[in-house]
Assembly symmetry: C3
Homo-oligomer: 139 residues x 3
């Protein structure tokens, strides 16, 4: 069994989703694992990680539309506003969508479906540096 | 440490949830792992996997009711419609509920709670073939 | 490779979230794993586990407010009511937020971000005993 762990420094440019499949795939390659698993863990609570359709970018635009209605910025029901009107909605979005993704490794590569990509989903309106820990283990 | 990986071919018959606990349990048995973990990963973005109450089927009916109101088919806010009015709502449902489940293995079996089952949740209205990768590792 | 598995007995005191970071961290310490992963799995379908901001308790109050509007108790659309008006909303909340968390282990400790805590999120209004299986593996 092999185990490899790397920290990725990611840079968001405001609210939206960013394809990080390539960065994660590179960690799998350098780990030398043929069959196993890869976990990506985001060390933040106002951004998240998601597996999403990677063919039509409109899908991710529609996800923003959906979330903007579900957890609107400046929502008067929410009292945690010290960091701005987008902060508490960002926490809500992050909890609904998750801080980690786990993808099998097969034949030395991420065993993603044809239309699956791994995305950092920034929920704050500003630009942030985000850290993700990638752990790969297997044979 | 042992590690075993299998791909399950699942067949949905339209929107709804399908108990796959038996298929996953069979992978654990054949892996010969006594203590460890089992991951099930769905290679799709318009269906998901969930752990759900397995006693009263009404729970899963109510989940459909809830989701139908939260992310309704044909929602005019959403522009990704090339594959039909149920496609973008299916992506939303999948992202809110997740593409993988991870269950501990103890005493050679899935360490599920008494009322927990593993379900494929098909979010498209049509019937689809869905692939899930099951990875089991441990001692 | 080492692998260690422990069951935690948790006690909720009604709806709300409870910091269990210390209990999970103790499992990591006793496992003697330096680099690897830790999984916490809840054996229930009406409570969940979440990673949440641990600085301002108002965040978790706002999460309750959000969920109370999203999946209100006694919702007339929902028919699974034999265990009370809070039961089906609890299942919905649990499915939206997840039964497990996976956190990397680095330098012998949980590699959480500065503001991340691990919480048991009780969705039922009553007090319950909840069981969580903690599995730690790595080098």
């Amino acid at each position: 069994m092999r185990l490899d762990q790397t920290t990725l420094e990611l840079h968001s440019r405001g609210r939206g989703s960013y394809d990080i499949t390539g960065e994660v795939a590179a960690c799998v390659s350098s780990a030398g694992v043929v069959t196993g698993l890869c976990q990506v863990f985001l060390q933040h609570t106002s951004a998240s990680l998601m597996l999403c359709e990677n063919a039509d970018p409109q899908v991710r635009v529609d996800l923003e539309t959906f979330m903007a209605d579900l957890a609107p910025d400046g929502d008067r029901r929410l009292a945690h506003r010290t960091e701005g009107p987008d902060d508490m909605p960002a926490h809500i979005r992050a909890i609904l969508t998750g801080a980690s993704v786990q993808v099998p490794v097969a034949q030395g590569r991420l065993a993603l479906g044809t239309w699956q990509g791994i995305y950092l989903w920034e929920h704050r309106t500003g630009a942030y540096r985000r850290r993700a820990v990638v752990t790969v283990w297997g044979e």
